[in-house]
């Protein structure tokens, strides 16, 4: 539309600087700007500003209470050269993200795809069942009961009863089991918003495309999926991917709830935990901001990679 009007007015864009042009456009569409203003204001104030501030803080020695002092890139230097636990937490985060991210993504999609075949009423019920773990807040604490370190913990009690173990195992307190268990729990809770958006996306695919596809020589369900279904729901795929990435990179609260903080021998210590450790326990907000910035960059990178991959869908 803007192009058209520009031609009509016969004022070429080339006659103005970019800024002038933008301003002119803004004035023309002022109603639209007015309407997004409230949201934009709040978004900026509570999301953009904190992110920017956090980047600034990462170059200081801010301790939450005293005025911050500028330390340059010292925090980053410490992070990469003086902090073994940070490197450990990066490793853990990657293991986590690489396993949980894609698996949960695929799982979400597959489950959504299967459910989509069901009749609407059954679908609603099954959707609720799969979605329940992620909406019911602290439901993952059930894992704490199942794998309690007590001899009365369900798994321990069962294994003891069957004579498979001699004495109780402190599951979430044992470095050998912590990571695998947390991954299982993470997968269990991962059928969240992404999963719902997939269902919505699958619902939104234009049925006539399938007919057209059949005419054009689609031979099986896989081809149908690859050439029609997936391309038509790219926005949902993208959304799901971003949710999966942020979810798996930012996974921490569940581990804390199940394994305590920090987890035994840092076995499930993720970047998120490291950030909490410095920010919450040691009052080194500057340092923890630096960690946050790194985490932010990692997520950005992962998002970019995923975007690239998704653009390949259907080709």
């Amino acid at each position: 539309m803007s192009k058209k009007t520009a031609e009509v007015k016969a004022v070429s864009r080339k006659d103005m600087t970019r800024l002038q042009w933008t301003w002119k456009e803004m004035k023309r569409n002022k109603v639209a700007y007015l309407m997004i203003a409230p949201y934009f204001f709040i978004f900026a104030l509570f999301t953009v500003v904190p992110v920017v501030v956090s980047i600034f803080v990462s170059f200081t020695d801010f301790d939450n209470l005293n005025p911050p002092g500028w330390v340059g890139i010292q925090n980053y230097v410490d992070l990469f050269f003086n902090d073994e636990i940070f490197l450990l937490s990066i490793k853990n985060t990657f293991v986590f993200a690489v396993i949980v991210g894609p698996v949960s993504y695929l799982l979400s999609f597959l489950v959504a795809w299967f459910i989509n075949e069901l009749s609407p009423k059954v679908r609603a019920i099954v959707t609720l069942i799969f979605y329940a773990p992620s909406i019911s807040g602290q439901a993952y604490t059930i894992w704490g009961v199942l794998f309690g370190a007590d001899s009365y913990g369900w798994v321990n009690a069962t294994l003891l009863e069957l004579g498979l173990i001699e004495s109780e195992i402190a599951w979430f307190q044992d470095a050998a089991y912590v990571m695998p268990l947390c991954i299982v729990v993470a997968l269990w809770t991962s059928l969240g918003t992404a999963f719902l958006s997939f269902i919505a996306g699958l619902q939104g695919v234009d049925r006539s495309l399938y007919e057209a596809g059949a005419v054009d020589g689609i031979r099986n369900r896989w081809q149908e999926l690859w050439f029609i279904t997936l391309p038509s729901m790219k926005p949902q795929l993208m959304f799901g991917a971003i949710m999966a990435i942020t979810g798996s990179f930012g996974f921490g609260a569940v581990v804390t709830a199940l394994c305590g903080f920090p987890s035994v021998s840092y076995a499930a210590h993720t970047i998120m935990h490291h950030l909490e450790d410095y920010g919450g326990q040691r009052y080194e907000t500057g340092y923890s901001s630096a960690i946050a910035v790194i985490l932010f960059l990692m997520m950005m990178g992962a998002n970019y990679a995923v975007k690239k991959m998704i653009s390949k869908v259907g080709s």
Partner: protein, 1135 residues
């Protein structure tokens, strides 16, 4: 076919035997060192012990032995006493027989008593024992009444005594006789605001006539009057007509309760059951000839004038009672007494409270908080009473109508006993009363209903009338009793005790989780248990029938009893099912326990009492639908305008600049209590009169951002020690050691509590950053019934524990312990930090040993690492548990009522040295009140902090919490004085104080948080993988020290390099200085050389000698050297 017994985790060791061997080599060396060290310890111990022998030896160790609990565990109940042959054969003496014993004629050998001249009575202290002799003509059963004076102590604990006849405890219930005190709420003058419609003179005349001492205010705008002591028709009507209220109001117009005060008075105590199981007074058997009566003090002092033995007389029935008044017309008066104006109460926990649920509650106001009812869940324990006094203007028969609500005990009813006392009627006359007028009054019944009800005196079937005579002052006392529930509860309790004993017998054989496929052969091995099950099952059936009969319908409670009965029946007749049903039995025992404690709570909320003729129509109990709807709607809208936060500005509204803002991060209950205390007590102190306290309830996490934004409070209550120091070191909390009277204030706290709130600044100056509110620490909880059963003595030392482990584990039982190595560390005389917090001390000999000992419990002795303490304690799997004293105590009080009386808690076991001294110190944590940076009025804030952490305030707070939440709301007060004033029983208090006197302090140095983290890692490595605890801990020492150093650098505090000690650092510095002196020191070459050799040998004694020599030689020249050397010598002394 397997019986699981606890076994050490040796399978891990077998796997790792190669490693084990290597470890052995190192441990051999360790042992040698240990031997030498132990030897030196012993010697130094002897030296130290001989130096400090003034304190009573081991006064922090409990002196209780299992035998002390025999009475409690094995004495028969009153029920058994009643059914004993001797009791049945004995007769009551002739009616009217009274044997009076003058209290002053007590026997020699009584302790803790003296004659109080002013009272003309015998004063008996809380811990006292007094014996009287009495001659009985013929053996008979007597009841006992004691004329006593409840001495003022201000403690809300009731007086408790145990009674012995001829030196023997007659029955279990006589162990804890509870004798009530009298409390009164401080009502203020009521006020009538004059409007045009009201004529001051007529009102004054009216009030004058009613005897309410009216006074016109100076500005002539209002009339004030006093609350009548004795209500009559006129005063009651006037209060109703003019809405006169006798409570304080704040400047929002909300009423607040003034604190109750204890009124010492003469009263009679009829010896009866404290828990309310038995409705009748106790009767005791006396033999012919000389008998002795002994009263042993448990709690609180009292003065005794006389003890009277008398023949108990059964109450007459209502039919007999009413026969006396045939033909007497009904009374014409109508007196409505608001229940919130109780003349006296038996305890300060029964007090006026607000009800906003009904528009006809009298009075009602949606805009303001009115304390318009009394009781509720706080008026629920047997023996608690409230009383009202009144006078009627015309003699006659009266109906006593009250508006009450009992919406707690679903499907059950609650009971009250009504005592009537007359003052002014001749004994034997018609209007004379002294106690329960007729039998039915001992169990008046109030049914369950979610709504309010208006009811006459009733036993469920008939309504009762009472005769009152004109001009006589009558007092009605409503006392909580269990009524017919009492019988049932006694029986159920008895059955539960039996089942409990049987259960313990079984788990001794099978363990707590028996194998359901094993034939344990119960009929041969414990036939008595099966018989007992049979009997209990039958008895439960009977009780359940009785319960259904009394409650009128079958309730869930009766069903519970039926279920248990069925289960016992099955277990008794199918012995092979005993094992598999044991779990169910265990949980049912808990259910019965809950039933018992439920049945003992008899809550009732009362709105008003009306004394009127029978023919007068009762007021409506509830409003109609529309009125209720309107009430709810207006309530909802008014909730937007009511201010729930601020407090304390009194209605005179004088504004001062002395206002402080106080934040508290607790639940609303606690907040309300503190708020009440501020309004009632804080401002009552003269110098705080003008201080406005703005108390706010906040979430704990708001403090940090608010300080950052400079919008913080002046005082913050309830901050934990670690956070307090964390904030303090970053300048967010103000040091308070320079405030006026600091030294005096601190004396009331345990030194260890103060140490945790202290911190050196970078100049080495010590600051204090808060006053402790609570101090919690672990103590040892013991199931005395089980230990007594197994013949295990209460452990006093860890050696006793080691010995007990074998016995307990042989019976499938465990000991509950935490992985808190600090207890061992400090009991062995170690310290967590060395060199003023510059490095961790866990790599020292004592540190490693303490850690290893703790780990061994879990690795070698199979202590469970995770467990539900309350549950395992209750089932008897863990008869000994070491746990935080208030937390576990509170849980057990609500959660495990069925084992009440069979457990106790006491100081930790300790480590005994060669001299027999036991160090049983415990490690505490503290919550504190702090003064926040930015505080505008430090003096006022300091006054507030002093007042708040003071003994009286903390005790009031703790007692209020107990009053509101029950016995399970014990606070771990940090103020020693407050501990004494709290509602602990004397025995409990004694144990708490013992431990309180031996607490270790761990300072909060920067980097502390890292220690717990890594010691836990080390522990888990040992626990999970069988690693050697010592080596795994040693691996983390450097990490911890690095973090400490890193943190100290952040705060510009002195640091040490890795593997450096303060001594070695100072010695190096001294050497440097010596080198620098160079030629200037030529004159002292020999001295320097000897100093250098002392430095090289880093021997404290040599260093001290050198220091002395250097000082003598040239103090100025060697100033720096001397400084360093002194530091080094001091540091060496601590290693």
């Amino acid at each position: 076919m397997k019986i699981r017994i606890a076994r050490p985790k040796n399978f891990v060791f077998i796997k790792n035997y190669q490693e084990e061997e290597e470890l052995m080599k190192t441990t051999k060396f360790h042992r040698l060192v240990a031997l030498i060290l132990a030897f030196t310890f012993v010697i130094s111990g002897i030296v130290a012990a001989s130096a400090t022998d003034s304190v009573e030896k081991n006064h922090t160790v409990s002196d209780k032995v299992i035998a002390d609990y025999d009475n409690l565990l094995y004495a028969g109940s009153y029920e058994e006493y009643l059914s004993s042959g001797a009791f049945k054969d004995a007769k009551r003496p002739q009616e009217g027989t009274e044997i009076v014993i003058d209290a002053l004629k007590y026997e020699d050998g009584s302790t803790g008593v003296y004659v109080d001249e002013t009272l003309g009575a015998l004063y008996t202290e809380a811990q006292s024992e007094v014996t009287w002799k009495v001659n009985i003509e013929a053996a008979a059963k007597y009841a006992i009444v004691i004329d006593y004076y409840s001495v003022h102590t201000g403690k809300s604990t009731s007086i408790e005594r145990s009674l012995y006849i001829n030196g023997e405890l007659p029955f279990k219930e006589a162990l804890a006789l509870s004798i009530s005190k009298q409390w009164t709420a401080a009502y203020v003058e009521g006020e009538i605001t004059l409007t045009k419609k009201l004529n001051a003179n007529t009102i004054i005349a009216e009030l004058e006539e009613a005897g309410m001492a009216p006074k016109l205010s100076e500005n002539g705008k209002s009339i004030s009057c006093v609350i009548p002591n004795v209500w009559n028709e006129k005063s009651a009507a006037l209060v109703d007509k003019y809405d006169i209220r006798f409570f304080n109001t704040d400047n929002n117009g909300d009423e607040y309760r003034s604190s109750s005060t204890q009124m010492p008075t003469w009263d009679k105590y009829y010896v009866k059951d404290g828990s309310g199981y038995y409705n009748n007074y106790f009767e005791f058997l006396f033999k012919q000839g000389e008998n002795t009566i002994t009263l042993k003090g448990i709690n609180e002092p009292m003065a005794i004038k006389k003890v009277t033995l008398y023949a108990l007389k059964d109450h007459i029935s209502y039919d007999e009672y009413i026969k006396q008044f045939e033909g007497i017309p009904e009374g014409k008066d109508k007196i409505k007494i608001e229940a919130e104006y109780a003349g006296f109460t038996s305890t300060n926990s029964v007090y006026p409270d607000e009800d906003r649920t009904s528009p006809v509650t009298s009075p009602v106001d949606v805009k303001h908080r009115l304390l318009n009812t009394i009781g509720g869940e706080k008026w629920a324990t047997a023996g608690q009473w409230v009383q009202y006094s009144f006078e009627v203007g015309s003699s006659g028969m009266y109906d006593i109508v009250s508006r009450v609500r009992q919406n707690v005990l679903d499907g059950m009813y609650v009971c009250r006993a009504l005592y009537v006392y007359s003052d002014g009627a001749a004994e034997g006359s018609l209007g004379y009363y002294n106690g329960i007028p007729f039998e039915e009054c001992s169990r008046l019944r109030y049914n369950y209903n979610t709504k309010w009800q208006v009811t006459s005196l009733t036993d469920g079937t008939d309504n009762f009338l009472l005769y009152f005579e004109e001009g006589v002052k009558y007092t009605l006392r409503f006392e909580v009793v269990l009524g017919s529930m009492g019988d049932i509860v006694v029986k159920v309790q008895d059955i539960l005790n039996t089942i409990n004993a049987d259960y313990l017998k079984i788990i001794k054989l099978t363990g707590t989780s028996p194998d359901s496929y094993t034939d344990y052969d119960f009929p041969r091995r414990m036939p008595e248990v099966l018989d007992s099950f049979k009997e209990c099952s039958e008895r439960l059936d009977e009780v359940s029938k009785e319960l259904k009969k009394t409650a009128g319908s079958s309730s869930s409670n009766a069903a519970t009893l039926d279920k248990v009965s069925d289960l016992l029946h099955t277990m008794a007749y199918k012995h092979r099912k005993v094992a598999s049903k044991l779990d169910t039995l265990k949980s049912y025992m808990g259910t019965i326990g809950t039933f018992i404690s439920d049945a003992q709570t008899q809550p009732l909320q009362m709105d008003y009492i009306i004394i009127q003729g029978e023919s007068v129509k009762n007021p409506k109990a509830n409003s109609n639908f529309f009125a209720s709807l309107w009430h709810e709607i207006s309530n909802f809208f008014m909730s937007f305008f009511r201010d729930y936060d601020t407090s304390n500005t009194e209605s005179d509204g004088t504004q001062t600049n002395d206002s402080i803002e106080v934040w508290i991060a607790t639940a609303r209950d606690q907040y309300n209590v503190v708020r009440n205390l501020v309004t009632n007590d804080f401002r009552a102190i003269e110098e705080n009169k003008n201080t406005n306290v703005n108390l706010k309830l906040v979430a704990g996490s708001t403090l940090l951002p608010s300080i950052l934004a400079n919008k913080g409070p002046d005082v913050f209550l309830g901050l934990d020690q670690a956070t307090a120091i964390n904030y303090a070191i970053r300048g967010a909390i103000l040091p308070i050691e320079d405030m006026e009277g600091f030294d005096e204030t601190v004396k009331s706290f345990n030194e260890s509590a103060m140490i945790t709130l202290q911190m050196d600044d970078k100049y080495g100056v010590k600051h204090t950053y808060g006053l402790p509110e609570t101090q919690s620490f672990p103590m040892m909880f013991v199931r005395v019934d089980i230990l007594s059963n197994l013949g295990i003595e209460i452990p006093k030392t860890w050696n006793d524990i080691y010995a007990a482990i074998t016995d307990l584990q042989a019976n499938n039982m465990q000991i509950g312990y935490t992985i808190d190595y600090k207890i061992f560390l400090y009991q062995m005389g170690g310290e967590l930090f060395a060199d003023n917090g510059m490095r961790i001390n866990l790599d020292s000999k004592v540190g490693l040993e303490a850690f290893e000992k703790t780990c061994d419990f879990f690795t070698q002795y199979s202590f469970p690492y995770t467990y539900d303490a309350a549950n395992r304690f209750r089932t008897g799997e863990m008869p000994i548990i070491i746990s935080d004293y208030t937390t576990l105590y509170n849980t057990l009080k609500v959660f495990a009522t069925e084992i009440d009386g069979s457990w106790t808690f006491m100081p930790l076991p300790g480590i005994e040295d060669a001299e027999g001294n036991i160090n049983n110190c415990s490690v505490s944590t503290v919550m504190a009140s702090v003064m926040v940076n930015g505080c505008k009025n430090k003096e006022r804030a300091w006054d507030y902090m002093q007042w708040y952490t003071g003994a009286q305030t903390q005790a009031s707070f703790a007692n209020e919490m107990v009053a509101i939440l029950g016995d399970s709301a014990k606070q771990p007060a940090a103020n020693r004085g407050a501990l004494e004033l709290m509602t602990w029983s004397a025995d409990e208090l004694e144990e708490v104080k013992r431990q309180f006197d031996n607490l270790a302090a761990i300072p909060n140095y920067p980097g502390s948080y890292y220690i717990d983290r890594y010691t836990k890692f080390a522990f888990l490595e040992a626990y999970n993988n069988g690693a050697n605890p010592v080596t795994s801990l040693q691996a983390y020492i450097d990490d911890i020290n690095n973090e400490i150093t890193r943190k100290r650098k952040e705060f510009e505090l002195e640091t040490l390099a890795l593997n450096e000690t303060l001594a070695s650092k100072r010695l190096a510095q001294a050497q440097d200085e010596l080198d620098k002196i160079g030629s200037a020191g030529n004159a002292h070459a020999a001295l320097i050389q000897s100093t250098e050799s002392a430095i090289a040998r880093s021997n404290e004694k040599l260093l001290r000698a050198s220091i002395a020599d250097l000082k003598a030689a040239d103090a100025a020249l060697f100033a720096k050297v001397i400084g360093y050397l002194t530091d080094a010598a001091d540091a060496l002394a601590t290693y």
